[in-house]
């Protein structure tokens, strides 16, 4: 059985390490915050100017001056700090964020990502996505493997790019792929329980390499 949509963030959370500074994208990646392993100290950064996102507020704690990048009301954890957008992106651009997890419309076999614009449709803007994929040390895409049956892992992105050769890892309901920078191809390292290599190949357009030992995704 492939993972469910709700299980993808659980697998993604296993990439977190104690002390990491992490930025989570809007949508499915935000749910990774619910699965931070107990006892692990992870600091979540919000690009609108907060390091140390806390849980969503109780009704009595709601503060219009305290929101995340998805414009949701949030709280700040003890030890948090506030800063301007320039400082926030200096932090991102300067390589001071250990990891970001974001969604994608397409990822190419060389690690390009497209997730902000579909030609012919209304473009809402890239927000901070281009800065994050260009600046963060480890960039993970957590997404469903296909969109309405169409492959999202492609040879070359047909959509306008968000970033070039910047994706280090892809986690889907079918498998885990890790970029090998020397070969410039993803290496399949894990399969979902009950999922075969052929299942992945059938849902993937991109060329990829298969690791010598392929593990099973645990959730």
């Amino acid at each position: 059985m492939p993972l469910t949509r709700d299980q993808i963030p659980i697998r993604a959370a296993q990439e977190l390490r104690d002390g990491y500074i992490v930025n989570l994208g809007i949508g499915m990646p935000t749910l990774v915050a619910n699965h931070i392993p107990a006892g692990m100290d992870v600091w979540l950064q919000s690009e609108n100017g907060l390091l140390g996102i806390g849980p969503f507020p109780r009704e009595s704690e709601i503060d219009p001056d305290l929101i995340n990048a998805g414009k949701q009301t949030i709280t700040a954890r003890p030890g948090a700090s506030y800063f301007s957008s320039a400082e926030s992106f200096a932090m991102i651009r300067g390589g001071h964020i250990d990891m970001c997890i974001l969604g994608a419309m397409q990822v190419s076999q060389e690690g390009d990502i497209a997730n902000w614009m579909i030609p012919g449709k209304m473009v809402k803007g890239m927000g901070g996505a281009m800065d994050l994929v260009a600046g963060v040390n480890k960039v993970i895409v957590a997404m469903e493997h296909t969109a309405k049956g169409a492959a999202k892992l492609v040879r070359q992105c047909s959509l306008p790019l968000t970033g070039r050769r910047c994706i280090d890892m892809v986690i889907t309901e079918l498998c885990v792929l890790v970029m090998d920078p020397a070969r410039r191809r993803f290496v399949l390292t894990e399969l979902a329980p009950g999922t075969s290599l052929d299942d992945v190949r059938a849902a993937t357009e991109a060329e990829f390499v298969v690791a010598d030992r392929v593990g099973t995704m645990r959730v």
């Binding site: 690009e47 849980p55 001056d65 414009k71 320039a86 803007g125 901070g128 800065d131 970033g163």
Partner: protein
């Protein structure tokens, strides 16, 4: 009022701006805020009421249909937006698709840094953000080592004089493959005719203190315009803000208005249980 910078209402703060040549049709205006958080909402209403048209607005977002810059879209006072994300505005979408409104999308960090740079007198800077994307189109691209990756540049002089090409070769880090040059694109600084910002607290000199995530673009925009108006929730006499707690020094701010914030929330999210 002891301070020449303090005005009673946003309308009063705008009253003589045309006469002073600050406000004209076609000027560039920066407005702070991230969504509705830290939005100079009452100053935006005053800008609408001023009737200035053909504006270029530099703002991370475009407000919502009935608040923020959405008000100026409704009245067709905006010709062009420079923004990173404009998702929550149906009128924006309509005008854009009808070709009535021009939009220049900037990556959010590039937009923030362009404003910071403009305020700091830096005409342009290189960034890796947007390389290989539509954002890089038409811009100068140059290769550099990422800061910190070039271990030879700072501490070692080339042993012998040589041609530029030879020098470049010697500067290749010894552990080839570890550090590589990467491409950067040249982005320019932004400086506006007028900036409208929102702060939590100010003194009568214009020293500003922001609150929580309402700081966002306000801090840089206050430094990057010929004329800066701040609306604040709390106004105190000079000397009442600890100099260590000032986020934006008062010299950047031309006018201050105390306003009552609407504290609107776009996406109210609470913890369950």
């Amino acid at each position: 009022m002891s301070s020449k910078k303090v005005y009673g209402t946003p309308a009063e703060a705008f009253a003589d701006l045309r006469q002073r040549g600050v406000l004209r049709d076609g000027i560039t205006v920066m407005t702070g805020g991230f969504g509705l958080c830290g939005l100079p909402e009452n100053l935006i209403v005053a800008l609408r009421d001023s009737g200035a048209k053909g504006l270029t607005c530099i703002s991370n977002n475009a407000g919502v249909d009935d608040w923020g810059l959405g008000l100026l879209l409704k009245t067709r006072q905006i010709r062009k937006m420079i923004s990173s994300y404009v998702g929550e505005n149906a009128e924006f979408e309509r005008q854009y698709l009808a070709g009535e409104l021009e939009i220049e999308f900037n990556p959010q960090g590039t937009l923030a840094e362009r404003i910071r740079a403009g305020g700091a007198g830096i005409p342009a800077f290189y960034t890796a953000t947007g390389v290989g994307t539509p954002v890089a189109s038409g811009k100068e691209i140059r290769e550099f080592y990422r800061p910190g990756d070039d271990t030879t540049h700072h501490n070692r002089k080339p042993a012998v004089e040589g041609t530029f090409a030879q020098t470049q070769q010697r500067l290749t880090p010894p552990e080839a493959g570890r550090a590589q040059r990467r491409e950067y694109i040249l982005e320019t600084g932004l400086f506006a005719d007028l900036a409208l910002v929102k702060a939590w607290k100010a003194d009568e000199f214009g020293n500003l203190v922001f609150r929580r995530t309402a700081r966002n673009f306000n801090a840089m925009m206050a430094t990057a315009a010929k004329f800066v108006i701040a609306e604040v929730e709390n106004l105190v006499p000079v000397g009442q803000i600890d100099p260590d707690h000032v986020h934006v020094p008062g010299n950047y701010v031309d006018r201050i208005v105390r306003t009552v914030p609407s504290k609107k929330i776009e996406n109210r999210t609470v913890t369950k249980g």
